[in-house]
Symmetry: C2
Subunit: 200 residues, 2 copies
């Protein structure tokens, strides 16, 4: 087993959601594991002045069409949420809190949170919704709610976001394969090829 | 022969250049022709506030790496020009002037201009360079230079740019297949699939 690949995403990102359905299977084909690393793209937007795609004139309408078309292409359920983007703070903190205890269960929670938002139109920026999703997986909702305000958990998310930016990460999804950067769900075929060939 | 597909690009766009090497072959597989439509992305940037990728903090370094990596993936010669972006006014006007006379020759000129910029590092925003590239194809350089100041040619490029934006075009490359929009060199595999299947 070689070095895991890093999968960065923001919980509010449709392309991050789509990639979350694909990345583990691609890595597994090449005997690689994946570390999921939610972070806050809002911090990036403050640095580079970009805005979320749906908010950009001309781009917005296309982006919404492309989110749905990309999901259909891969057979992934998708419904545009009423609100997008939303803050990824609560779901990301819940993820890292659980990741310290059980990284596989944390991934399961991340998948369930993504589904709640991009299939069931639940506003996962709301701590109550996060606790509810966690509870549906048998995770103690009260402990989750407490964790969202835990200084150590807050610091973990801050550090993950800072570390991401320090490594050159700026989008969602953003994948690092042995430090080679790939930005976008539309680079996953290249990730697959890079893992197979070691580069070109 | 069904309706041609529209291939929009800016002469200063690396991904537009890469797509110019691929689009005609993809269309030909499905018995479709391609109308090449250079336009001025600077006009789009004024509307939506985006900036060229290399100028964006965090994004710039990745973008330059990805331009070269994408070109290598498809075996397309590429050398990052010293200046990017540049104005596409002169090469676009030359293209449309020639397109009125001979659209195939106009495509040949567009390919030669792209090569001059993205392989030989010639600044094709310079009318003299455009005339020189045209002359290398046996096109009268003096006529080209005159055409660049022809009011009708100027108007044609303005109209093409306005029409592009009115059709929802905002990036480079940007492909319309029976009005279905695809943004980016990384959507060409989807263009191929859309042409084969009629959509999904």
């Amino acid at each position: 087993m070689t070095k895991p690949i890093d999968f960065y995403f923001d919980f509010s990102s449709p392309y991050g959601y789509i990639a979350s359905h694909r990345i583990d299977a691609i890595a597994a084909k090449h005997d690689r594991s994946v570390i999921w690393r939610p972070y806050l793209m809002g911090v990036v937007f403050k640095i580079n002045g970009r805005r979320p795609l749906p908010d950009q004139p001309l781009v917005g309408e296309y982006a919404c069409r492309d989110f749905a078309r990309s999901a259909r292409l891969y057979g992934i359920p998708f419904k545009m949420p009423d609100r997008l983007p939303i803050s990824g703070v609560a779901p990301s903190r819940a993820y890292y809190w659980l990741d310290d205890k059980d990284s596989e269960q944390a991934k399961a929670l991340a998948r369930a949170l993504f589904s709640a938002y991009f299939v069931d139109n639940k506003d996962i920026s709301d701590p109550e919704q996060v606790a509810g999703v966690a509870a549906s997986l048998g995770i103690d909702g009260i402990a989750v709610t407490a964790a969202l305000q835990d200084p150590a958990v807050k610091e973990r998310l801050r550090k993950e976001t800072d570390d991401a930016i320090a490594r050159g990460v700026f989008g969602s999804p953003f994948i690092l394969v042995d430090e080679e950067p790939f930005w976008g769900n539309d680079r996953l075929d290249q990730v697959d090829r890079w893992l197979a060939t070691g580069g070109w």
